[in-house]
Subunit: 221 residues, 2 copies
């Protein structure tokens, strides 16, 4: 009975999270708690892997009691799902802003790269989890994230295509798919080598180098 009530409460929270509506009053504390728990979960997943991490580890890392954490979530997989969904929603928001940016496709591509890498720099544990645990979700959780990821990747591919056209070297279907995949690779490997103390000063240059790889590869055609 208690479990059912907890699940119903979690479901209500989920709906709130889904619509993205900012709750007012006492619920605000709840939202801060969810942010805090998701951040703690990302750190624990990044360190231990999703498979080996337990909800108990996450509760300890978030300094929240083990029974109380279940007020906010149903199970460990829901945490990975929420981390992934928030990340892709934020990435998509930035990409859509980039896509609308200017009539100039080069600027749109630059903005897309900046949005992706800046998100990376500010959310290293989340990005590590996204990259490493891409196959760890199941069922509807997995389907939902796959859809967001596909939308994100399509938006990027469209920007790359428009940029290539603007440069007078339109890409064919295969070229567009391969260049977009290589671009994501160059960017998503980032968490393995980015050290804020050393690389933060270099961030404009890093974004320039990523843009330069795509621009250079297209100019060679």
């Amino acid at each position: 009975m208690k479990k059912a009530a907890t699940q119903a409460a979690a479901a209500r929270r989920m709906v709130k999270l889904k619509t993205g509506a900012k709750p007012a009053g006492p619920d605000e504390r709840y939202d801060a708690n969810i942010d805090h728990i998701l951040r703690a979960a990302a750190s624990v997943f990044a360190e231990k892997s999703f498979g080996l991490a337990s909800v108990r580890d996450i509760a300890a890392h978030a300094r929240i009691s083990f029974p109380r954490i279940y007020y906010y979530l149903r199970n460990k997989e829901e945490l990975l799902y929420l981390i992934s969904r928030r990340a892709f929603e934020e990435l998509l928001k930035r990409a859509e802003e980039a896509a609308r940016a200017t009539p100039d496709a080069a600027t749109r591509l630059r903005k897309f790269i900046a949005g992706h890498l800046e998100y990376h720099m500010d959310n290293l544990p989340e990005m590590k989890v996204l990259v490493r645990e891409a196959d760890s979700l199941t069922g509807r959780y997995s389907a939902d994230i796959t859809r967001l990821k596909r939308d994100y990747s399509r938006l990027c591919r469209r920007i790359v295509d428009q940029f290539a056209e603007e440069r007078g070297h339109p890409l064919d279907r295969e070229g567009s798919r391969i260049v977009t995949s290589l671009l994501f690779g160059a960017m998503n490997w980032f968490y393995t080598w980015y050290e804020p103390a050393r690389d933060y000063e270099q961030r404009t240059r890093i974004m320039d180098e990523v843009f330069g790889m795509i621009a250079g590869s297209i100019a060679r055609r």
Copy 2:
């Protein structure tokens, strides 16, 4: 007593593996068994993650009895270590061949890229494990693989530097580090999107595109 004897046997096998000496006669069957077990382990780690996979899963996948598998190895971590060491030894061998290839740095870079990606294409589970479980080894196992990885990455960086010089656009320290890291990213993301049925025909083109990104980025300077 039995455990100690098994460990001693495993240690002898390890030494044999380390020296790379081809044993003759009855031991040849042993070598084939180790290959078979390492391949099965890579598949199981790729599917379940290192953390969640058990030696029992691997024995079942390799169709070898659970007690018997301990004739070949000490524990699960040793399997991950051997998979990683073999992979980096093979990658290093190919990279050294590439580095010796011709006086022409562009050909050396092309050969390096081809060696890395061809290894990838032929060993998708191993590469997935290498990328995702980079932090899962501990102690001496981890130190040993870190050293091989550093050697491999240095060799690549030297080839990139020589190529940039040959093109008349030498890279500074930061540029060389960033371009090499982006190159590894573009290549190591490969296991997430490469589908042999669709992409095998495109493999020359994929290697060309990777080379083109580096060449193009250097030409823009």
